[in-house]
């Protein structure tokens, strides 16, 4: 967890210099974290912000473009920009030459699907409503026989207008709404929101409050990694995996409920601190739960990974190479399964992760197997980390600091490593200290295209396992 707070005027330059500096920093090894627009005071303009990460530090670059602006899409040479430029095109009408695919991100404006021509080709359309109890999205498979040549993903069905609603209320009272941006990663979104808000208000939260948040974040990670593993096991009909990981998830989310009243960590993190209570009684139950997880995972994990059927169904399936992952700028579990060391807890640590470090987990094969193994190893590491931190904090029930007025004309960017990957919140105030703009970025936004790539040259019957191995958020993308 890390936050950057800046006067955006000091980082604003003319468009030529902006693009030049952006390219230069990226070629020197900076990583693109975000790239978004906001309306300018002059309605003929749009303000573009790039968020970069290099050497453990966040930085921003900004410029203003006149509308409708035309320029050559950065995506033409830097594919990591593809989804950001699609969003800019959709929201601000930027004309981006040579962008390979300006498909709408959320709007339902018609846009032609790719089509495949030939004697033995066919297309399969699935969704928006799917067979299980799951969020909606549309998948269009272009197949040669059973083999998928390309998967086109069309989202936007979940669009609820989150970013507009975030500007309608007191910026200090957005906790409940922020927790439903992607409701299975509530703690990560709430922490990113609070960190950015507190940076704008000049409030420093207590170390104990930061510890409490970090505990909630790891419990959420364990629970959702278990949910993903249960789903993957079920998808390949490895039923003992499905039932065992499923009930262990119950243990994990009931631990969150014990501390904050909600199985989804709702109300754990609030501006100024944390509402969760971990007194000695709750800690005793929490520790017993964590021990049960550790003991029983030591039985189910080798059973799953040792099964020939599981190896056969996961190894080599849905592969995303390291090169593809870097080019696309994918993040989180999916990136780490393709050999990329990107984890905000290690790269952009806040005070808690500086003192109590998290060991990063990397796998290199980039397939469904690697994404399962990354989750299994990350759960182990989270359990180890929790034990260390709970030893140091036998009680952890911090008081919340008061969050007062926000600094005017200031931009705060916070990055929090949720269980899927980095959650980015960018809050900007106006001259009166009110919220001028709120940009939310769920890791799913960048990773959906990796799912499409992973399906290429795989059998269509491998789609469910590939989809579950990424386990991306529809509403986090659609906002």
């Amino acid at each position: 967890m890390s936050a950057l707070v800046v006067d955006p005027a000091e980082h604003t330059c003319r468009k030529e210099a902006f693009f030049e500096r952006l390219r230069a920093q990226l070629s020197e090894g900076a990583r693109l974290v975000g790239y978004y627009g906001r309306p300018a005071d002059d309605s003929g303009q749009v303000v573009i912000t790039a968020v970069l990460s290099a050497n453990g530090k966040l930085s921003v670059l900004r410029t203003g473009l006149s509308r409708p602006h035309s320029h050559r899409a950065l995506s033409a040479e830097l594919p990591a920009f593809q989804i950001f430029e699609r969003e800019l095109h959709e929201q601000y009408g930027l004309r981006l030459h040579e962008h390979p695919w300006l498909k709408p991100v959320r709007s339902d404006a018609p846009y032609p699907f790719y089509s495949l021509k030939g004697k033995e080709v066919h297309e399969v359309a699935v969704g928006p409503i799917h067979a299980g109890v799951i969020e909606p999205g549309h998948f269009r498979f272009m197949c040669l026989g059973e083999v998928v040549h390309h998967l086109e993903i069309q989202l936007g069905y979940q669009h609820r207008g989150v970013e507009a609603l975030l500007l309608k209320k007191d910026p200090r009272a957005l906790g409940p709404l922020v927790e439903t941006i992607a409701g299975d990663t509530s703690v990560a979104h709430a922490w990113a929101y609070c960190e950015a808000l507190e940076a704008l208000a000049g409030v420093t939260t207590s170390f104990e409050a930061q510890v409490s948040r970090a505990i909630g974040l790891e419990l959420e990670r364990i629970a959702m990694h278990l949910a993903s593993l249960a789903g993957m096991a079920t998808d390949i009909a490895f039923l003992q995996g499905g039932t065992t990981y499923g009930r262990l998830r119950t243990t994990a989310i009931n631990s969150s409920m014990l501390a904050c009243g909600s199985r989804f960590g709702r109300g754990w993190v609030r501006p100024g601190g944390a509402w969760a209570k971990l007194e000695s009684g709750q800690q005793a139950t929490l520790r017993a739960n964590l021990k049960l997880l550790k003991d029983d995972l030591a039985i189910i994990n080798p059973h799953l990974l040792g099964a020939r059927s599981v190896q056969h169904r996961l190894k080599g399936i849905g592969r995303v190479t390291r090169e593809q992952a870097i080019e696309l700028g994918i993040v989180g579990v999916a990136a780490r399964a393709s050999g990329i060391e990107v984890d905000a807890r290690a790269d952009l640590p806040g005070p808690v992760h500086l003192r109590y470090g998290i060991r990063g987990v990397i796998e290199n094969s980039g397939d469904c197997w690697a994404r399962a193994v990354v989750r299994i190893r990350e759960i182990d590491e989270s359990l180890r980390w929790l034990e260390e931190v709970l030893d140091a904090f036998p009680t952890c029930s911090p008081d919340a600091a008061r969050v007062g007025a926000l600094k005017p004309d200031t931009l705060a960017v916070a990055v929090c490593e949720g269980w899927r990957g980095e959650v980015v919140h960018c809050l900007e105030t106006d001259a009166a200290g009110g919220l001028r703009h709120y940009k939310v970025q769920d890791p799913s936004l960048r990773n959906w295209f990796a799912l499409a790539l992973s399906l290429r040259e795989n059998e269509i019957s491998d789609f469910p396992i590939c989809n579950k191995s990424f386990d991306l958020s529809y509403c986090g993308n659609d906002l």
Binding site: Y157, L165, L177, R247, R266, C475
Partner: protein
């Protein structure tokens, strides 16, 4: 073989024997409105409620809007509002979701003789998420897991609307899902009914003011069961359904 047995032994017996008697530790559920008098002219709980779920004189909380966020409890200077771990909150009417001072547990869901006769021994559900944040969807999935084991009462989620008797709606009903929801509903054979799952589906919840919604479907089809929560606890859902269908357990 050996490791499979070890897994089976570690699994033990997981199901909750009597769901109605469960007591989820720490769960922030059914609110209580205590008899303590409000301070004169105090409205502290109104502006902090993110969904406008509270009304005054006398104090009432609409569970159809409540996100159980605790803001009202913390804002109240006289400790009038609190939350218990009660999960029996489902209702067969919209009005039945309003909690009043000193009322205790809300009246239980009334058995529908018609639904009991049709679906009391077998109920197949089709879930439609329409803007749900995956909180509701995960809890609906959890209803079928080894802990809650809803299937033991003949209640299951099915893939095709053609096989379903009821549609369970989660999320605030987005414009972009309007057509898909209508078509799924048309695919259900008669007789059929609607269940609203979660604050978003019941009232729009945190998204009630969004222009990106189209809640017309719920204007035309009145739900037979309302399941409050953000997201609802699986127990609230299953026990509500058991009550509605007259399932003893």
């Amino acid at each position: 073989m050996f490791s499979s047995l070890k897994v089976r032994i570690s699994q033990g017996r997981q199901y909750i024997v009597d769901l109605r008697k469960a007591s989820p530790a720490g769960f922030r559920g059914l609110p209580v409105i205590r008899a303590t008098a409000c301070e004169a002219g105090c409205t502290a709980c109104l502006p902090v409620c993110p969904t406008g779920a509270i009304a005054l004189d006398p104090v009432r909380i609409d569970l159809g809007r409540c996100t159980f966020c605790r803001e009202c409890e913390l804002a109240c200077p006289v400790n009038k509002i609190g939350f218990t771990n009660g999960f029996k909150m489902a209702s067969d009417t919209r009005e039945g979701l309003v909690v009043r001072e000193g009322a205790g547990e809300p009246s239980p869901v009334k058995v529908s003789q018609g639904l009991k006769q049709l679906f009391g021994r077998s109920l197949k559900l089709r879930s439609v998420s329409s803007g749900g944040c995956n909180g509701c969807e995960l809890e609906l999935n959890a209803a079928s897991n080894v802990n809650f084991d809803m299937s033991r009462y003949g209640i299951d989620f099915v893939a095709s609307p053609r096989h379903a008797d009821a549609v369970v709606i989660s999320g605030p009903l987005t414009k972009h899902m309007h057509e898909a929801l209508e078509r799924a509903w048309l695919g259900l054979p008669d007789p059929k009914f609607v269940i609203s799952f979660g604050a978003c589906a019941i009232s729009g919840g945190l998204y009630a003011d969004s222009p990106e919604l189209d809640r017309g479907f719920l204007g035309r089809f009145t739900p037979s069961l309302y399941v409050p929560g953000c997201p609802p606890h699986p127990l609230t859902f299953i026990v509500g359904l058991m009550d509605l269908l007259g399932i003893q357990g």
